[in-house]
């Protein structure tokens, strides 16, 4: 298959995916570090490269509101945001999922204020983990590009019908130039096909109502359906990924394991930090230490059984969270992973490392220290601290 290799940033890669998808409507508001997704896409609109209706709104609350109206009318709809922009959308983020509208939204992960900060952590989308959106985390620009395209098929699958967030790390991925392989336009257009909604708000021959008052007598039924949609997504996303892999000669999965099969100690980490951690794993392996890594890719729905299966044999795991949930019981990834292991007969000791908040750099030496601690715990079977903060000044 023909792929064109170009040197672009994560944001440019996502804008390129949006150009190829050519959604009917994009309603978006710029916010750092997502800005140049919208900026680049606006340029495509201005240059006549896409026929998309670009709606420039006055806030993210309006962006997501316009997306809801647009998607309900039967238009394929996209937007993009980061951090406080996502927070300003909040009310409508839940409504988009509840109304079962297949909006696709690349999110460039950035620390949520306050204090105000524009750099990477996952506090923005982790806050939205119960909003009913599918959440997929990407390690690099290539993944962000391909999964933005794939997300259209996931969101619009008739047994799913849920909006999707495609997450990449702010600045680290969004603003770094990488070699990205771009598919042919026609191939992408054929893959995404045409969005056909059964009940369009604009079909005057068959009038419908979206978003009516839903009280004690039916709200619960609609929430039950929504839970089923998410359960279906968990079943269907591996198939959609396999199909994509065949179509585009790629290699997507709901999670990545790295030298995990015979690992005694392992870290679990999302997105770009996994790249750094893999070099540490290689380094430890060269010294004969059985280190490994697991990188969750699909975070909502959470692939509990698969994660438990992959980690069951490991002796000690360190779950690395790039966000704090202020629960006094660790970060969100830690809690999900630890909960996933509860039903396993054999399970690793699990400890949590909060790192990289507000874009604080994480170095190979930091991850090496984490592995050293995991090895020490494996030896003594004693956990001195269940939750630790890596890279913060004492």
């Amino acid at each position: 298959m023909k792929k064109n290799t170009v040197a672009i940033t994560g944001n440019q890669a996502v804008a390129e995916a949006m150009r190829q998808i050519e959604p009917d409507v994009v309603a978006a508001y710029p916010i750092t570090p997502q800005t140049d997704i919208v900026m680049n896409f606006s340029q495509f609109v201005a240059d006549g490269k896409v026929s998309t209706e670009m709606i420039n709104v006055e806030s993210e609350h309006s962006a997501m509101s316009a997306c809801v109206g647009s998607a309900a009318s039967g238009a394929r709809t996209m937007t993009a945001t980061s951090a406080n922009g996502l927070a300003l959308m909040w009310e409508i983020v839940y409504i988009a999922a509840s109304l079962r509208l297949p909006i696709v939204m690349p999110v460039v992960n950035r620390a949520l204020s306050g204090p105000i900060n524009i750099h990477c952590d996952h506090s923005d989308t982790m806050g939205a983990r119960d909003s009913g959106w599918i959440q997929i985390f990407c390690e690099n620009a290539q993944e962000a590009y391909e999964r933005t395209i794939m997300a259209i098929r996931i969101a619009e699958h008739k047994d799913i019908m849920l909006p999707v967030m495609i997450n990449q790390d702010g600045f680290i991925t969004s603003h770094s130039v990488e070699a990205v392989q771009i598919f042919e336009d026609k191939k992408v257009k054929d893959y995404v096909g045409e969005y056909k909604l059964d009940h369009s708000l604009l079909n005057l021959d068959k009038p419908v109502t979206y978003g009516p008052l839903d009280l004690q007598d039916f709200y619960f039924e609609h929430k039950r359906q929504q839970a089923e949609g998410m359960a279906n997504a968990l079943k269907l996303i591996p198939d959609i990924m396999a199909d994509f892999n065949k179509e585009f000669e790629s290699n997507h999965d709901i999670l990545e394991t790295y030298k995990l099969d015979d690992a005694e100690v392992a870290v679990v980490v999302l997105s770009s930090t996994a790249g750094t951690a893999k070099t540490v794993v290689d380094d430890l392996r060269s010294k004969g230490i059985k280190a490994g890594l697991l990188r969750p890719i699909l975070f909502r729905p959470f692939p509990t059984e698969r994660i438990a299966k992959e980690l069951a044999h490991v002796k000690v795991i360190g779950v690395m969270d790039r966000s704090e949930s202020f629960s006094a019981m660790g970060g969100p990834l830690f809690n999900e992973v630890r909960s996933a292991l509860y039903d396993s007969a054999e399970k690793p000791i699990a400890v949590n490392y909060i790192f990289g908040l507000g874009g604080r750099d994480i170095f190979p030496e930091d991850i090496k220290k984490i592995f050293d601690e995991l090895l020490a715990i494996n030896k003594t079977k004693k956990v001195a601290s269940r939750i630790s903060y890596v890279g913060v000044r004492e």
């Binding site: 509840s98 419908v208 609609h222």
Partner: protein, 92 residues
């Protein structure tokens, strides 16, 4: 009436047809019920114009009574009636 389960209703709270408010009986919300004295009524249809629930029944340009399945008993008809021929009576 047996209500539909979660597998049977359209997803996302969608109402997949128009005019379904007819099937939703709101008469039970009423505390006060309008009653008309037709001997005084001048058929000006002010009640019909102002009723927020389209619950005034009209035939051949004449006010005939109320759709008690949908009248919520707000009393606007009684308040607007220029000849005061509509009275609000406590529901029994």
């Amino acid at each position: 009436m047996k209500q539909k389960g979660w597998k049977e209703v359209p997803i996302g709270g969608l109402i997949d047809k128009g005019g379904s408010a007819m099937e939703y009986k709101t008469g039970g919300w009423r505390t006060f019920k309008p009653a008309v004295d037709k001997t005084k009524c001048i058929n000006c249809l002010q009640c019909w114009i102002h009723c927020p629930d389209s619950a005034i029944q009209v035939k051949d340009g004449k006010m005939e009574g109320f759709d008690y399945d949908h009248c919520k008993g707000c009393g606007i008809c009684a308040a607007i009636c220029p000849v005061k021929c509509i009275k609000m009576e406590k529901e029994k």
